[in-house]
């Protein structure tokens, strides 16, 4: 019962969505719009789960004084301050909430991701080796693209052709063809998985237990 009802819901929702794609019937269109609206509402509530999980992890750390609980206080304080600023001053341009977004949230997010540039350079030096034909092809193409896609690449020429033109040709034809093969393969896999979900063969999203 606890697994049969969800499987039936998945089946009905999936079949209705499949059929409505091919039929302009007014009843189906109204059903489609209503179900879409329901999906928007349910998707919005997934954010609440994320917040609850965050609060749970850090409050538990603080109350049980686990390793690094001081930093959890920082996280909770940041959360409380940001939320309070929103409720008190609103989110218009120039408000403290807006300033926190622009000068705390945005820079921290961008900086954390920018660390990858350093790790890439280090990995390129230590691990990127032309051990066999596959790795050599990967290496050579990567170097052509890296130099061809920056302005300095325009200075590397032979006759009528330049490195940026070669790089663009590689992207537009051989790379595009390889990516196309991957796209078709992934799409076939996605369609199979979708059919399995609708037919109830794939049930991992229901989790374990009764």
């Amino acid at each position: 019962m606890r697994r049969r009802v969800p499987l039936a819901i998945a089946f009905i929702a999936g079949v209705v969505m499949l059929i409505q794609f091919f039929s302009p019937h007014p009843t189906l269109r109204v059903t489609y719009e209503t179900m879409l609206n329901w999906l928007r509402i349910i998707s919005a509530f997934t954010f609440v789960l994320g917040i609850v999980s965050f609060m749970r992890v850090h409050f538990t750390k603080v109350t049980h004084k686990r390793a690094g609980w001081g930093y959890s206080i920082v996280a909770i304080l940041g959360f409380v301050i940001m939320t309070s600023l929103g409720f008190i001053y609103g989110t218009g341009a120039g408000t403290p909430f807006d300033k926190m977004y622009e000068y705390v949230y945005a820079p921290l997010g961008a900086t954390v991701f920018s660390l990858l540039a350093f790790y890439l350079a280090s990995a390129s030096f230590r691990a990127f080796r032309a051990r066999n034909i596959d790795a050599t092809i990967l290496l050579v193409v990567a170097i052509i693209i890296m130099l061809g896609r920056v302005p300095v690449g325009s200075f590397i020429r032979w006759g009528k052709f330049s490195l940026p033109e070669l790089a663009e040709w590689i992207m537009a034809y051989p790379n595009m063809a390889a990516q196309r093969g991957l796209l078709i393969g992934i799409a076939l896999g996605a369609i199979c998985m979708s059919l399995k979900i609708i037919l109830g063969i794939e049930r991992s999203y229901l989790g374990r237990g009764e």
């Binding site: 350079a121 302005p151 300095v152 537009a172 196309r180």
Partner: protein
């Protein structure tokens, strides 16, 4: 010696990256940036669009991909508004609204002759990804009953005429994630909506397949794509916020230096590898 080279402390490598990136930013020189075909295609599409038509600029990115995608938003918005094309800003990314506000703050100052609600509008964020995209195809006013500032859409003169994809000439999705795929899957496949994308360099190689079939009308790939488009906009005389275009040009010079550094690291690393392997073979 090659063993020492091969086991160099990674912090020296990090320092090298930082120096190569910082020097051009301090010296501030700009190298020429010729435009590539995918960028030219998007530029020509907007350049040939009659004034008064409406495009939807979906800024589906977060601060983590801001350096690559924000300049694209600036360049496209300036191009469209200078040509009298109406622009609707929206986002599918939860942290996207702040990105829209950053652009609009400068747009309001640079375009006093363009009125909010008549020439451009900020629809803000709505959760739901595919549900939002499909919903716009049926009735945009049901998905966005109000704009980002709480004004009912029916009170905005521009939005009274825009109800679904039939009234939208082009959707441009700027994103560092799979949002352009979702726009393609649901807006293009189902409703035949023309889609273009500004993607981070991580996603751009994959999108060449869609570009070749014409599913994407045009594409800006990474910081280089942003720099190319900004240069085209500047040459056409539409640039009203030159500071962004200047910064992007300087950043591309910095990118050149870092790329050369990384290529040299790869070459030196491989030379060390071959020498050590030969020594071990003896």
């Amino acid at each position: 010696m090659w063993q020492k080279v091969s086991s160099l402390d990674r912090r020296w490598i990090y320092l090298g990256v930082a120096i190569c990136a910082a020097l051009p930013l301090i010296l501030e020189f700009i190298l020429p940036i010729p435009a590539t075909p995918p960028v030219k295609r998007l530029f020509d599409t907007i350049d040939n669009m009659p004034a008064g038509h409406f495009i939807l600029l979906s800024m589906d990115f977060t601060p983590s991909t801001m350096p690559e995608l924000l300049p694209m938003a600036y360049a496209i918005a300036q191009h469209a508004l200078s040509r009298g094309i109406k622009v609707g800003f929206m986002t599918l990314a939860p942290a996207g609204p702040g990105m829209i506000e950053i652009v609009l703050e400068d747009i309001r100052k640079a375009y006093p002759d363009r009125k909010y609600g008549e020439d451009y509008v900020n629809l803000g964020f709505k959760p739901g990804y595919s549900a939002v995209i499909l919903g716009i195809g049926e009735d945009l006013h049901k998905v966005f009953p109000r704009d980002a500032y709480g004004t009912p859409l029916s009170e905005l003169p521009l939005m009274r005429k825009i109800h679904n994809y039939k009234h939208i000439e082009l959707v441009i999705s700027l994103s560092g994630a799979a949002y352009p795929d979702i726009w393609l899957l649901y807006a293009n496949a189902r409703y035949g909506q023309a889609i273009a994308t500004g993607a981070t360099a991580v996603m751009a190689p994959l999108y060449y397949a869609y570009l070749a079939t014409g599913q994407f009308v045009g594409m800006l790939g990474g910081l280089k794509g942003a720099a190319e488009y900004a240069e085209l906009v500047r040459r056409a005389g539409y640039m009203r916020i030159p500071k962004v275009q200047h910064r992007v040009g300087v950043q591309m010079s910095s990118q050149s230096f870092v790329h050369i550094y990384i290529v040299l690291l790869i070459i030196v690393g491989n030379i060390a590898f071959f020498f050590i392997r030969r020594q071990r073979g003896r």
